[in-house]
Symmetry: C2
Subunit: 339 residues, 2 copies
């Protein structure tokens, strides 16, 4: 009993059949006598039989499993992307293995090795902020395992990608600040290693330029997305001899941290300083004042990424052309920029 799982051979022996017949009965193959099938099915249930997916995957060399690697899942963003992807993949008969790289390049590499070893049929990935070398992802390409990047993408790889229009979202956010009369707009940016944080920075810069506002380097701070650092940088900005009158933050957690710092100093939001975030985390509607932010279609990012992967999985025979999907964002105006 211990350590032994029921196999088709156990069932075959018990019913005096061959494993082939049992296999056919279990998989619903037509060439089995109705009575035989019923006997097999009944005994299978009774013996707690569960097919061994390892053996099947080994034989068919497909696991019907997709790996997903995300850098974190404490904020609501990645869980929601995962739910979207999982929904689409489950409908297509795929399971999902989620890996959490925890923003560590080392762990991310270990994750890819593990997924490769367990022979996932495809990979959805949003890389860590430390990742500058993408060789561990190229191995998948070389082995013919489709990869789709989402949210944080690698420009150099010819694979499918899903992002939002970060440039445009940032541009419109800053434009909105300018329209409410703000002139010294700071940007608490993400690390330069992330393509989306570079795009948001460019959107910010171009908006300033369009309205003829000077770009002040002391108002632009790139940071590594750890919230205690955000706290330090916001304080630093507020301590400047000429402090900003608005802050565009790389994401909502950063913006919310900024709100706390600003409120603790007794400054008025948005009069003394306005704040804009990025993502529209559910929490952003609940803080006081409500956070103006650039909303992303989060679930849709996951769904689209899954669909691109399935496309590639399905027509593997003829030449595959990678696609890039860019979803649009929407500016949500709340109390942090407007009374």
């Amino acid at each position: 009993m211990k350590g032994h799982q029921t196999t088709i051979i156990d069932i075959a022996k018990a019913l005096n059949l061959s494993k082939s017949t049992v296999s056919r009965a279990l998989t619903g193959h037509p060439n089995v006598k109705v009575k035989t099938r019923e006997q097999v099915l009944a005994l299978a249930t009774q013996m707690d039989y569960q097919r061994n997916q390892l053996a099947i995957s080994l034989l068919t060399s497909q696991t019907k499993t997709i790996g997903i690697i995300v850098p974190e899942f404490l904020s609501f963003f990645f869980p929601k992307v995962i739910i979207g992807a999982q929904e689409v993949l489950a409908r297509a008969g795929y399971n999902v293995v989620i890996c959490h790289s925890n923003e560590s390049y080392e762990i991310e590499m270990a994750n890819t090795r593990g997924l490769l070893a367990s022979r996932v049929d495809g990979l959805l990935v949003s890389h860590t902020k430390e990742t500058r070398n993408f060789d561990h992802f190229r191995i998948f390409e070389r082995k013919g395992v489709p990869v789709v990047f989402f949210n944080r993408i690698c420009e150099d790889m010819a694979v499918s990608k899903v992002t939002v229009d970060d440039y445009d979202g940032a541009f419109r956010a800053v434009e909105h600040l300018i329209e409410t009369g703000k002139r010294r707009i700071a940007h608490l940016a993400g690390p330069d290693s992330l393509q989306n944080s570079r795009n948001r920075l460019n959107g910010y810069l171009d908006a300033l330029q369009k309205y003829g506002l000077p770009m002040d380097p002391s108002l632009i701070i790139s940071y590594d997305l750890t919230l205690d650092k955000a706290n330090i940088y916001v304080n630093h900005l507020l301590n400047l001899s000429q402090p900003p009158d608005a802050l565009f933050a790389i994401n909502d957690p950063t913006a919310i941290e900024a709100l706390q710092v600003i409120k603790a100093r007794g400054l008025k939001i948005p009069d003394d300083i306005a704040v804009v975030g990025f993502s529209d985390d559910p929490i952003s509607a609940l803080v006081e004042p409500g956070l103006t932010t650039v909303a992303q279609p989060v679930t849709e990012i996951g769904e689209q990424a899954a669909r691109l992967l399935l496309n590639q999985l399905q027509n593997e025979d003829d030449r595959f052309e990678p696609e890039t999907v860019v979803l649009s964002t929407q500016l949500i105006v709340r109390g942090s920029t407007k009374r």
Copy 2:
């Protein structure tokens, strides 16, 4: 190239060796000539060799993989539990497959079938609110695959469990409300199918009794944890001819929803009505007023559950005794109950 992964046999042929020798070289077995090992290792890297975990698992009948089933992961709770568990399991050389039952009994059963088929070595689970029949978990027991319940536990199964002291947390929360002078305390409870929501209800009832307050059935509402319903029920409570002067909510999202409803009606918190939640979600410190809540050691729940599972996995030989770990909670007092 396409569809074919490098195997030890490919390497063996290329070097004119047997697969046995290549296997030994790759696994670090001592009985291999140093030069041979070097050649094998070099060629393996060059050919992008990745061991086939499916074949190994099939042979050794252990996958070094643990399944985790959670009912949701949009709130911060389950992701954080998962991170705690994953940390401990990764150190012991185990991978993790996360399944999201989405509060659906059907999906939960499908999840267990999938995990059984892919031969996970163990299971960590927090069941759905719909789950009343636990037979799909008993199959694991019968097959000798260890199961550990956390957060939402099944009392009837003789397996290891990790919870917090829900009764005590609820009792102290209600006691706190009474001490601030509240007399008509409502309880927005969770579904009766969840053991922790029953325990919290009992804590609430006993606290009322201890202080000689009457139990008013119209102030106790069990609901299914979908937030739009919370909205309806809070409004209902406030519309009573004798509305409550305090509300103890089953969890923080519910309490925060209540805060919104109460504020929208122009009532003063905590003077007109005080609110207490359960969990100390990060968001609870950020809303206005801050939410008084019962904090749980979330990461530790995951860590402990993982440790109990590893215990069982390691001494499978001699008689195993299931353990139940009950972690303690802490009342965090904020503006929603005290000025």
